[in-house]
Amino acid sequence: MTAARPGPRRSAIGVGHTPLPLGPAFAGMLVLLYLPIVLLIVFSFNANTSLSFPLKGLTLEWYGRVFGDPALLGAARNSLVVATLAASVATTLGFAVSLAVLRFRFRGRGILLALAIAPLVVPFVVLGVALFLLFNFLDVPRSLLTVAAGHSVVALPYATLILLSRVIGLDPALEDAAMDLGATYPMTLRKVLLPLVGPSLLSAWLTSFIVSFDEVALANFLAGGDPTFPVFLYGQLRFAGRLPVLIAMAVLLMTGTIILSLLAYRLRARDSAI
């Protein structure tokens, strides 16, 4: 500790201040984060197959071609199906884990919670290999269902953490009161808990949806002949001529996921600090 010097306090909250231009640094970082994405969007309007400067002029041709490409549209539809299934399973199971862990005492409580979070610490390539071997051993043909099953496992930690942080803040006395008034526990869940947890359930679902919708490393091991959009994209990126159409499609889908993730964030922010 240096000499005791009662420095002037700028403001009550501002005591964390360090004399650095953090605002400009933040703005600079945002520019860096957005620049590559903006560049891609620019190229999706560029009237030239080769993605290089200088630009040749503006066109909507690539966006038009997206809607005439059945393979591309099929892959996007597959991703919607897989992400919907995976998010629904992950949210249901994540809710079950949160309730089981916080409202019941049983042996293996800690193990259940640890298992539900554990997929977060296993690299996707390892889990991909393991699930590939499982489906092969069980003679389950690889399909959209196997991808959805894999995604439900990797989305479960996210759903569980979001729901756990909500349920932990709810007083069990609310449920006890409902049951004192004669409600059964399932009825209490429906009438008391569900309305309180609703926004978090939706947030968990949307977060799981986005995790699945964008996932490629695991899906690449588990998809059969019918690819999800990221798997399709991964397989096609080598072909330079296909790039503008793929990017146009990706930009369209990106707009959707950004809206969903902002929605998920707003719902979560309403329930808790973050």
């Binding site: 005791a4 005591v15 089981a100 977060l120 390539v125 290999v129 393991a130 071997l133 990106m254 922010a269």
Partner: protein, 285 residues
Amino acid sequence: MLGRRGSLRFLAVPPFAWLILLFVVPLLLAILVSFRGERGPLDFGNLQLSAAQYQKILGTPSWLRLLGTSAGMALVVATSATLLAFPIAYFLAFRARQRAALFLVFLLVPAATSFLLRVMAWKLLLGSSGAINAFLLWIGLIHEPIGLLLYSQAAVMITLTYVWIPFAALPIYAALQRVDRSHLEAAADLGSGPWSRFWRVTVPLSLPGVLATFFMVFIPTVGEYVTPFLVGGTQGFMYGNLIQDFFSRAGNWPLGSALAVIMLLVTLGLVALALRLVDLRRAVA
């Protein structure tokens, strides 16, 4: 606690069953397959286990070196992403005040942008006719495009750091928000200057979030095979590419499984270390 909630006491069964079937059993199966001496269908009546695959891996220094290289690359990526995300999170938590929510949204947009799309963006930036070369040519700094930017380890590390920054900022932001402001005021009242408050109060209190972030980036990065395939070329291949290769082209599942089991052990070892350093569960939740 159970009491009247007893009608749902089997609530834990479905998630347990799901996780055992689709998480525990597959990993055990991969371990079992890794101990098979040869390829061919699995026959539980006649397992014939051997450590041949592991002997082969230990006898191939280039594979072990690749594991070391991948861990090194993941270390660089996780460190850079954490260090670059810290000022962002700090700005949001301490400086942005009432506009923090808006600024956070600015950060969520790149985070929600397709992973492959952002990797592609860097391929375009780093390519020989890409934006960086075009810019350098335009300002006259170089006269020929630099070919070395793309298809290198550096390209993989730059791309992955970029991909992870927005995600990395979120847990650090949450940790900084939990830093009790009265501790900082107390330090100020006791004559501590801004820098010493930062190093002696803010940083130690945010350490759990910082470490959680580090591992959140490190674990997926060490197992990467998609980004190296797209921007790394043969120079930037990682250990994950090796595993993937044995399951796609080479078709040697026992050997690929053994390589995957080694990777699993390495990551679990690091997680065990992390849990000793800090209560990760509290930092993430």
